[in-house]
Symmetry: C2
Subunit: 268 residues, 2 copies
């Protein structure tokens, strides 16, 4: 039994609206809904499940999915849909990501060999950090972060490096909204955050102790592009038990200088 049609036809209980209406009466809007209901872990979804989650008519989902399968953006495996290999392939061509990763990878491996800890490369996307690459040392973190994963800007070392050395407008935007409390030690007072960022500017690096995850800390530096603007951040994450923030900061700034030199020749 359907819920009786309300005027305005809102299918999905979707009160939040961080991104403006993925206009569902345009083809592209529907495709967007379909591709984005595949969460990080929903590996496969049935046709009906897709229709339910997107709020689209089953016939529409069927038609569009067929076309997407034909393209390779979706794959079918005994009746279920999942994201297709061609998405990966096209995604790897994205220049901002590819250039940064290719340049940073060798340096990240150096860092891992010096520290035996986990090293992240991240950029700003929207009001979050987006991890472009991760290289782990021998000491694996229990619930690992993910490449292409996201975290808030204000509670991660990479995020704070990007905020401290990034565009002023970005900081204003982050400050405009309440700061989420991720752990008990997360900085949620705007004034305190501003102090931390000021300190980061003085030191040249940002740090974070159990503000994103209990038991772990991180140190991060900004990476400047050809124009001098900050384009990414590089961080070392370690368990607090064996952390050595000063050492990490020293290693990072060495690597950072090399990286800045490499980036200055590139168009980002």
């Amino acid at each position: 039994m359907e819920a009786i049609a309300k005027p305005g036809c809102l299918f999905t209980a979707d009160p939040r609206e961080p991104h403006p209406t993925p206009d569902s009466n345009s083809v592209l809007g529907k495709v967007r809904l379909i591709l984005e209901v595949f969460g990080l872990d929903d590996e496969t979804l049935s046709l009906s499940e897709l229709a339910r989650r997107t709020g689209l008519a089953k016939a529409s989902v069927h038609r569009l999915s067929q076309e997407l399968v034909h393209w390779g953006l979706l794959e079918r495996r005994n009746g279920e849909y999942r994201l297709g290999m061609r998405l990966f392939e096209i995604g790897q061509r994205v220049p901002r990501q590819r250039i940064l990763r290719d340049l940073a990878r060798p340096l990240m491996i150096d860092l891992v060999q010096s520290t035996n800890e986990t090293v992240h490369l991240a950029v700003v996307d929207g009001l979050e950090v987006l991890y472009l690459e991760k290289v782990s040392g021998g000491n694996q973190i229990s619930r690992p972060s993910r490449v292409a994963g996201r975290m808030p800007l204000h509670c991660t070392a990479t995020g704070k490096a990007l905020l401290a050395f990034g565009r002023r407008a970005l900081l204003d935007e982050v400050m405009a909204a309440p700061l989420a409390r991720v752990t008990p030690r997360t900085t949620v007072a705007p004034g305190l955050l501003a102090q931390e960022l000021q300190r980061a500017r003085e030191l040249g690096y940002a740090a974070e102790f159990e503000q994103a995850r209990i038991g772990y800390m991180s140190v991060a530096i900004p990476l400047a592009g050809a124009t001098g603007a900050t384009v990414a951040a590089l961080s070392v994450t370690a368990p607090t038990s064996r952390a050595n923030a000063d050492r990490y900061a020293g290693l990072l700034s060495l690597v950072g200088r090399r990286m800045t030199k490499l980036l200055s020749a590139q168009e980002i």
Copy 2:
């Protein structure tokens, strides 16, 4: 309407599919054209350039590109378009790719440390190998291959491993078309290729000497999924000057056993 052939038909060789009609009078077809004209190196394209290459009306390209920028699949940088970060993000969620990479990465790094050469992880896509991951040793290759790059099946070690241990139908399909001569030493005679594959089946690994690139050779093994079917291949590539095929084969089969154990628990 799919050309569903006779019941029980074993060979699914689709007669007409050189380019599967990127139907340009459907919205999705146009979007496909737009996203796929960004080659591996065309980092940015202007609106007019996009219209020219896709063959679409300028107004249409403009309208669709706007919507794609809004979604994040494209980005704008002083008037030019380029592939957007969200493509990378969605592409990283593709399960087949993510599972294989996450499992193989540590083992690939082991291999690199043992050999100091370049290690590739590849799958079949269409009639080519698609590289999912690459880990380089200290000895960089001059014109390096790329993650998400493609190569023919018949001239690479990974490709031959996938052919020798993969579905019979795939081999038939490859044999049906003439084999491209990539280097003077590429095997282009179907009979010879069949012999090489038979030899690979006996040895348990495939090898290639200067068939893909002069001065380099590779050794590859297949990786079997939970059902026992081959799902990917792992290879070591080295300059012929310092190559040691037997050693690579030994190291690979050790790693292959570990990988097969890991994969048996996974749904691929």
